[in-house]
């Protein structure tokens, strides 16, 4: 937390509203262009390009010491299937920042990774004890519910890559100041899949619905909001089965048998990582797809681990959260093409999936907000100033343009018409039919649809639940 006191003193005359207005514009630095993946994506010095921050301020004001940041993600085991994607995304973002000279061109960034599977709260506290300048992660919703209150106590900015449980900023931390999330909530991706199900299968063909979701807060939350969204779109339907297997279970037979027995028209799943692979392998063996269409929010997180046999036998409509590597066509979108090529050079990355951009995006959100604050303040900002700069902050990644939600008050979005639940990212979302890609020997998506943030996020003044319930009126 270098230079915090000085910069806070210098900014004493800038109130929050003025700062927010000021950080909305500004010119691009090499770091920002690098993070966006393309120098032509943003202008080369003009105001108002939306990715702000000149990185202004002298070396003595901004400092030259490296910035130390820590990230929680799963680095091993079944959850590592997606956790390592997040890690690699974050590493590429840091590499690009440092390649451009560091934050404001003068402060290199040191990224430390801690395994989220091993006492994540202790690891987080250790980051804080070590004086990390920012923290990132966690991935798990359950861990996020534990850590977010700690973040508020520690008063050090945290931008999680996922941890998408809807109630986090509605109930767990209803008035967040330092806790942010690059991804939107479970609600966003569940709404995408509800829309996809109705569009692709047809409302008249969905009378019965089942769900097989992870047995913890994320899975329960996803199933809850999916049903709410589907009810808003369809009206009546029967829920014939809801199973919640434990994380890392090796045997999904029980749940597959129950789904086959009920033979629903539609099955919803938010299984992810290794669990998604296990489920799909075993579902194919039990012919689950003969009578039931499956829609899933995050099964595509296992794109590198699914076998050809399984992908070709399973019929899954899969969500891709905020990023799909070939949408828009990467031949036509250089930032996406560069990211895709760079990612494939990294260890353990076959194709970058939505979690890859989550790792990349949470670092980018922080780095671009810091540079914008430096631009306004002329020195390195305090944690409070970085947090305020992040609220309503817009920034580019190779996945497109993102906006970080503004502050929420009393569980509802209030500021500046962001339309986003407080402190969560707002991005375009994607979904398509899962198919096998011969070129990359990995699962891919076909016939991909994209959804703008306003189609999948609640408007200002409403929580996600209120918004979905309003569909029925």
């Amino acid at each position: 937390m270098t230079d915090t006191h000085d910069s806070e003193s210098r900014s004493a005359g800038i109130d929050r509203r003025n700062l927010m207005r000021a950080v909305g514009g500004g010119a691009a630095t090499a770091v920002l262009a690098g993070l966006a993946g393309c120098s032509t994506l943003i202008s080369d010095g003009d105001e108002g390009d939306g990715n702000g921050g000149t990185g202004g301020g002298s070396a003595s004001q901004v400092g030259t010491d490296p910035l130390n940041i820590g990230m929680l993600t799963f680095t091993q085991g079944a959850p590592g299937v997606l956790g390592i994607q997040i890690q690699r995304g974050a590493e590429l973002a840091v590499e690009r920042i440092n390649g451009a000279g560091g934050i404001a061109g003068q402060r290199q960034v040191n990224l430390e990774i801690a395994d989220e599977g091993q006492n994540p709260l202790d690891s987080y506290r250790q980051f804080i004890d070590e004086g990390k300048d920012a923290t990132f992660g966690p991935v798990s919703s359950g861990t996020h519910e534990t850590i977010a209150p700690e973040v508020e106590s520690a008063e050090v900015v945290n931008v999680s890559s996922a941890g998408t449980v809807t109630t986090l900023y509605e109930e767990t931390v209803p008035d967040p100041k330092y806790s942010f999330r690059f991804q939107n909530s479970d609600l966003m991706e569940a709404v995408v899949m509800a829309r996809e199900a109705v569009n692709r299968i047809g409302a008249e063909n969905i009378d019965t619905v089942a769900g097989v979701n992870p047995g913890y807060s994320f899975g329960e939350d996803s199933q809850r909001v999916f049903k709410l969204a589907l009810e808003g779109l369809l009206g009546d339907f029967d829920v014939v089965y809801e199973g919640f297997p434990d994380l890392g279970t090796s045997d999904m037979s029980t749940h597959i048998t129950e789904v086959n027995s009920a033979a629903p028209d539609l099955m919803f799943s938010s299984l992810w990582g290794g669990d998604a692979v296990t489920f799909l392998d075993q579902a194919v063996a039990s012919n689950l797809f003969e009578n039931t269409r499956v829609v899933s929010t995050v099964m595509y997180s296992a794109a590198d681990d699914l076998s050809r046999d399984t992908v070709e036998s399973a019929e899954v409509i899969a969500g891709a959260r905020t990023y799909y590597w070939d949408k828009p066509d990467r031949r036509l979108w250089k930032p996406g093409r560069d990211l895709f090529n760079d990612a494939r050079q990294q260890d353990n990355i076959g194709v970058p999936n939505p979690h890859y951009i989550a790792g990349y995006g949470c670092i980018t959100a922080w780095a671009t907000a810091v540079e914008k604050a430096i631009d306004v303040l002329g020195g390195y900002p305090s944690q409070k100033q970085i947090a305020e700069a992040l609220e309503g902050h817009g920034f580019f990644t190779p996945a497109g343009y993102h906006v970080m939600g503004a502050k929420s008050e009393g569980g509802a979005t209030t500021l500046q018409g962001s339309g986003t639940p407080g402190h969560s990212g707002r991005s375009t979302a994607y979904a398509g039919e899962m198919v096998w890609n011969e070129e990359f020997s990995a699962a891919a998506l076909e016939d991909v649809n994209s959804y703008s943030p306003v189609e999948i996020s609640p408007p200002p003044g409403q929580t996600g639940t209120e918004w979905l319930q309003s569909w029925r009126n």
Binding site: G77, V239, E242, G243, F244, D246, S250, D309
Partner: protein, 329 residues
């Protein structure tokens, strides 16, 4: 329609006879896998009087070794094409062969652990808390060794599971059921039978049981208890490794995979009676079956079912269903 947004309590899915047969088969295959793991744990506990917390890592090691073995052999079969029944036979043979080889690889590991850490380390004479600390330490060491050899990411083999399931054997009797699970049930039953035969009908088995019943007397009549102890630990490792290799084709091998089976194995041996092989078999099948039957009534009970059975058994028969090892297997 009324939607319940708390934990799921959906309409009862009782279904017809066919679905109950499927649920029972699910329970049997889960039970036999659990028995393979719990049997090793219970014989080590019954004879060596050691609660081996590292037992789950032997299970994981079996899965990882099987990954390597499969990797070497799968290429010989996958591209061959040809008669589907012949392919099924080849894949089953591959699965069993890999499981046997993997278990065999785990055996010297188990024997070495017993000889070095328990016998030479003098852990048998120490308080039980030392055993727990030691075996927990071994758990961590083995976990790190697996990570060092195979890396931090989970690994899986493609082709074996789908290859075996390509011939739907159960459809001969009108069932939609994976052939692989049937293989697990058959293999589990054969292994259980062989294990009981070994302890009841063979000289070595009887010596082991005699040692379990009265260690001093066995020593007095010339039994080399050191060898027996090493043999028992190696036997436990064999079955844990075998179980790990058997589950690999349908899931992944990951660093944390040993934890849940270890906990469930504790539940099984408490239900069956600490150290009782027969108790382990009955307990494992009971847990597998009740878990699968109960989920039909309410999916939310899936996790709680094994512990509920254990609680009931402890209330009714605190020593477990079959008491302790030795007098009866």
């Amino acid at each position: 329609m009324s939607l319940d947004f708390t934990l799921p309590l959906v309409a009862l899915q009782l279904g017809g006879p066919e679905i109950w047969v499927t649920r029972t088969l699910n329970g049997l295959q889960a039970g036999f896998i659990l028995f393979l793991i719990a049997s090793g744990l219970t014989i080590v506990l019954g004879i060596l009087d050691v609660l081996n917390l590292a037992h789950g890592e032997l299970y994981a090691l079996g899965a990882y070794v099987a990954f390597t073995v499969f990797g070497g052999l799968i290429g010989l079969i996958a591209p061959s094409g040809g008669d589907p029944m012949a392919l099924l036979f080849l894949f089953v043979l591959l699965a069993l062969g890999a499981a046997a080889v993997s278990a065999a690889v785990v055996v010297p590991v188990g024997a070495a652990l017993e000889a070095v850490f328990f016998r030479v380390g003098g852990i048998y004479e120490r308080d039980e808390v030392y055993q727990l600390v030691l075996t927990f330490g071994l758990l961590l060491i083995m976990n790190d060794l697996i990570k060092a050899i195979w890396g931090p990411s989970s690994v899986r083999v493609a082709g074996v599971y789908s290859g075996i399931n390509a011939i739907p054997v159960a459809s001969l009797v009108g069932l939609n059921y994976p052939t692989f699970n049937i293989v697990v049930i058959v293999v589990g039953a054969v292994v259980a039978g062989a294990l009981f035969y070994f302890f009841n009908r063979t000289k070595t088995g009887r010596i082991i049981r005699a040692t379990a019943i009265n260690r001093e007397m066995a020593t007095a009549i010339g039994v080399d208890t050191d060898r027996v102890f090493t043999l028992v630990f190696a036997l436990g490792a064999f079955f844990a490794g075998f179980a790990g290799a058997m589950v690999l084709p349908r899931t992944s091998a990951s660093l944390e995979m040993g934890v849940e089976p270890l906990v469930l194995s504790f539940v099984v041996i408490v239900i069956g009676g600490l150290g009782s092989l027969r108790g382990a078999l009955v307990g494992a099948l009971l847990v597998g079956l009740v878990e699968n039957w109960a989920i039909a009534l309410n999916p939310a009970v899936e996790t709680a079912a094994p512990y509920a059975i254990m609680a009931i058994v402890l209330l009714v028969k605190p020593e477990g269903l079959y008491g302790t090892w030795g007098e009866r297997t």
